[in-house]
Structures are given as C-alpha cells and as structure tokens.
C-alpha cells in the first residue's frame, strides 16, 4: 500500500468518503488522499461493471471519476480535497437528474 515517505504538509483537511472520515494534506487531490487511505477502486465502469481506480494522476485518463459533493463524473485526481467535502464511488454512468438541476 501507499505510505507517506515525505510528511511535511499539514494534515488539516477532513472530508467524508461514504461515511468515513478521511484526513488529507493541505493542497492534495481527493485521489491522492484516498490512495493514501488504501482505497484503490474508485468506480464501477458503465459498460461491464468492473472496478477501476486512478491510473494517470494528471487528468488525461478519466479513470478516477467519482461523485464529489453530489456531482458525478468529477476527476478525483484533479480536485483538491477540502474540508467538509462529500465523496463517493461512482457506479456506472452518471444519471441526468433534470428535477434536481439548478434552474439558474
């Protein structure tokens, strides 16, 4: 599993992952914080319902898609973790929920 070999950043970010409290270093991505917590599988694929996790960590592969603060299809490797964030694994394709859409 991943371990911290450099531990110089302040661990002052706490976010929610499916009910569990995850501590993140200031400025790091949601994906990095979850990998540090030994989570490897971030979503189930839309076509074959198979597990996937972060692959490129630079925003080009789209394999780390998660539901972040209610919004699906977020690239967890590109989103900086902030306190109070709610993060969940994504199962299949995102559903378009017209009723919940912001009328603005």
């Amino acid at each position: 599993m991943f371990k911290r070999v450099i531990n110089d950043a302040i661990a002052d970010v706490v976010f929610d992952f499916e009910g569990a409290k995850i501590t993140a270093r200031s400025g790091e991505s949601v994906a990095a914080a979850l990998l540090a917590d030994d989570l490897l599988s971030f979503r189930q694929t839309p076509v074959k319902d198979l597990a996937r996790g972060p692959f490129c960590m630079m925003g080009v592969c789209f394999d780390c898609l998660m539901v972040i603060d209610g919004q699906p299809n977020r690239q967890a490797c590109q989103v900086v973790a902030t306190s109070g964030m709610k993060v969940a694994r994504q199962h299949g394709a995102a559903e378009l929920n017209i009723d919940q859409a912001d009328p603005a």
């Binding site: 599993m1 991943f2 371990k3 911290r4 070999v5 450099i6 531990n7 110089d8 950043a9 270093r25 400025g27 790091e28 991505s29 990095a32 914080a33 990998l35 540090a36 490897l40 599988s41 971030f42 694929t45 076509v47 074959k48 198979l50 597990a51 996937r52 996790g53 972060p54 692959f55 490129c56 960590m57 630079m58 925003g59 080009v60 592969c61 789209f62 394999d63 898609l65 299809n73 590109q78 900086v80 859409a101 912001d102 603005a104």
Partner: protein
C-alpha cells in the same frame, strides 16, 4: 483589459513563455489546469523543500526559481482552469470555478505538454495498475510511495522514478525492462550526437548501477506481460526469454515513453505530422513555433518530446516569435534574444535520436497480441473487438469510432488513439502516417451544459458562437 498573448499550460514551456513575453511588456493570460504551477515535470514545486530535493533531485528543484520568477511578474495566472476549446479565430474557451469564459487574443501559445504513451497489456485496467508518471506525481504532490511495487516497461522515466523510490528508502519488488536488445545496435550511430548531453547518459548509468547495487531484482529482455488479478492487480506475469514467471504485487507501474498531448492542437485544427522516430503526432511548426494557424504557437513537449530544458527554451522562442508578430519587439531584438534559447534547444534535442531509438517501445507492446487485452479503456473494447470491427473493411480510425465507439468515451482517445491507429496500419498493411488519427473536436475537457449556458464572453466585436 485586452490581452496580447494567451498561454495554455504552466509547465516549463508555458512559464518561460509567460516570463519572456511579460519582460517585453506584453499582457499575458496564463491558463493552467493544475492548482499550482509547474506542469508535470515540476509538479507541486512551490511546496518542495529539503526532503523533496533529496528524493527527487536537482532537475526537479530547478523548477522552483522558474515558478518564483513567473509569480513575481505581472501575469494574469489562472490555476484550475480547464481549457476546452481553441478556435482558428484565436478564441479560447475555458472554465474555472464552474464559470465558462471565452477570451480572444492576437497570439496564443499552446504549452500542453506530454502524456504517457498507452501501454495496452492484459489487465492494465485493474485497480493498482498505474503509469510510472502517476507514481512520480504522487511522490511530488503528496510524498506517497508504494512499498513492493513493480516497475515495468522502458524509457528514462521508468528508471528515474525507480531511483527516486530507492532514494526515499522504498523497496521495489522488481524492475521489468521491455527494452528490445535489437534497439542497441540501431542506436549506436546516434551516440556522437548524444555526447553533447553525455552528463545525462552518465546519470542514467549511475541510476542503473545504484539500482543494481541495492539488490533490486531486474528482469531484462522481456517479450510479453500480463497483469494478474480479477478485481484488482495481484501481480505481473512476465515472459523473459520464452518462459513465464509470476511476480506478486498490489502495485504495478507501467511506462513506455511519453508522447505530445495533442488533443487541444488537433481540436484546434492545426496541421500535424506523424513522427516515425518518436511514434507520435506533432503539430507542424516553423522556427518560431508558429503553426498552420496564424498567431497560434506550440511550445514544449506538446510540439514533440525534448524534455524540460528544451521546453523552457522553446517557450522563450515561441514568446519572442509572438512578440515580434505583435510588434512589441523588432525582428533584430527577437533574433538576438533567441540565441541562447536556440543553443539550448539544439543541445537538448541532440540526444533525442539516441534516446528515441534505444528506448523505442517494441511493436508487441504498442499493439498487443492478447485477444482480451483492453484497447479502449473508456468503452471497454478488447483487441478482438477492435480487430473484428476493422475486418468489416474499415479504412480509418473515424469509421472505426462510428462502428464500435472506440475513442468516444471521456478520455477522448487519449489512451487508445495511437494503439488503434497502429493496429489499423498493421492489419491493413499501410504506414501508420496514412491511417491518420481520430478527428478530435471541442470541448476537449468535460463542460457542463450549465457552464455553457452561463458562458461569459469577454468584450470583443468578432465573437461568433
């Protein structure tokens, strides 16, 4: 404020271009998709201290003064900005903080950098399998490393990251080297050119010998690979010299070189050439990094792989080219200011023919032979799926896309485009250059309908949408 130059990407090329342009009085908008400047090579450089210096080395730390310099200039720098469009009328569409904007400028410099070449082997989609560059990103941004990982593939970055792991005191289960023996002989004629960067060659030797001395297992002459596991990676099956052996590990880092990240330059309809030496597409550029669209420039690895120092030099050259074009400097000043950068660029590119030949990824690793190896990760299409579709009689990647959806998922072909192109070439017995690439269209990054509906167009007379 009217902008003179929009620069896309805050890596070595983008930051150098921004600094050079601002020094001559240009108003610069620098857009970058990361939270902090540096690009991939200098990722998270601003937060780097002594520990990072020890583990990641002086080449990484060299980015720190560059980022400091960029910060100290009067540049409008927007972090976390996702650029989804560049048009031939030099309009740039981007989103930041949920707000989409359209801005125009007389000059645009694309400095979108490189990404890792696809490595399509059986099981490369399993959780726990990542690119070696991703391993390095985690080291840079979070100080994270995986104990007992396998590094597999070829190219300088593979050994660089493995060496950085050892510097951090992290054990490696094995280095599995796929470099073909036959490459060595072909690379020999390129040694004289490469000697201009003999320091880099000797550094590579030093990494290798330190890795060997550490007792790390190294497997050479590898011909085939399969990742083991059903729901997550459990190890790597390695064929070296005709026999298979299994190495257990939860973490497998793959790498076989980097290629220009061309999604934006293709979607902007720039002309591209197939580079047979680097096995990738690159935008056609002139000596000032100008492209087939007037006022659009490409700098850094996005225009062809040359490395960080070459990217800095070409960023300066692109900035000087656009400054002269805008009339902010005269051509004499442009030419004299570009001298140092040109010398650097020539020196940095002199080693490429050697490196590109020595580390040329083997045919069987670019186009897999395992029927059930996934080619298109997003649409989950295997080699057999793609091959069967080609057999219908398809001539190019765009037809193929319509028939089986390869390249139509969220990554927009970034991780299957080159494989599909070379597979069609192989199966239809044509040169890869003739097969061509996916037709890419904006938006090249996800854009919510809500953002598009609330699009903010910066004051300008000629905007069409």
């Amino acid at each position: 404020m009217s902008i003179d130059i929009i620069i896309i990407g805050a890596g070595p090329a983008g930051m150098s271009a921004a600094i050079t342009a601002t020094e001559s009085g240009a108003k610069v908008l620098l857009l970058d998709d990361q939270p902090t400047p540096g690009g991939q090579i200098y990722r998270a450089i601003e937060a780097a201290g002594d520990k990072q210096a020890t583990i990641l080395g002086p080449e990484y730390m060299a980015g720190k003064p560059l980022a400091q310099n960029m910060r100290s200039t009067n540049i409008e720098y927007v972090a976390d900005a996702s650029v989804w469009q560049v048009t031939d009328e030099r309009e740039v569409g981007y989103s930041s903080n949920g707000q989409a904007r359209l801005v125009t400028a007389p000059a645009i410099i694309l400095a979108t950098g490189a990404m890792e070449r696809p490595f399509p082997i059986k099981g490369w989609t399993l959780p726990g399998v990542m690119m070696a560059g991703a391993a390095q990103t985690m080291l840079k941004t979070s100080g994270l490393a995986a104990e007992g990982a396998i590094f597999a593939g070829c190219g300088p970055l593979l050994y660089l990251v493995a060496h950085q792991y050892l510097q951090a005191g992290v054990k490696i289960a094995a280095i599995v080297d796929t470099t073909a023996k036959a490459n060595r002989l072909k690379a020999l004629p390129h040694i004289p050119g490469a000697l201009r960067r003999w320091d880099l060659l000797s550094k590579g030797q030093k990494w290798q010998s330190e890795i060997r001395k550490s007792g790390t297992r190294i497997i050479n002459n590898v011909r085939a690979l399969k990742v083991l596991g059903d729901t997550k990676a459990e190890g790597l099956s390695v064929n070296a010299g005709g026999t298979w052996q299994n190495i257990p590990s939860d973490h497998i880092f793959l790498h076989q070189g980097v290629v220009p990240n061309v999604n934006l330059s293709f979607a902007a309809s720039l002309d591209h050439d197939w580079d047979e030496q680097q096995l990738c597409w690159r935008p056609k550029t002139d000596q000032w990094c100008g492209t087939s669209i007037d006022g659009v420039y490409v700098a850094g690895d996005g225009g062809g792989i040359g490395g960080g120092l070459a990217a800095r030099a070409s960023g300066e050259i692109a900035a000087l080219g656009s400054l002269a074009k805008l009339g902010l400097i005269d051509t004499a000043a442009r030419d004299s200011k570009a001298k140092t950068a040109r010398t650097t660029l020539r020196r940095e590119l002199s080693i490429r023919p050697f490196l590109d030949t020595w580390f040329r990824p083997s045919d069987d690793f670019r186009v897999p032979t395992d029927d059930d190896a996934i080619i298109c990760r997003c649409e989950e299409l295997s080699l057999k799926d793609i091959r069967d579709t080609i057999e219908i009689g398809l001539v190019g990647p765009n037809q193929l896309k319509s028939f089986c959806r390869a390249g139509m998922g969220p990554c927009q072909g970034r991780f299957c485009g080159l494989t599909v192109q070379e597979l069609i070439a192989k199966q239809t017995n044509r040169p890869a250059a003739d097969v061509g690439y996916y037709r890419l269209r904006p938006p090249i990054k996800p854009l919510r309908l809500e953002e598009l509906a609330n699009l903010q167009i910066e004051e300008d007379e000629n905007i069409k949408f």
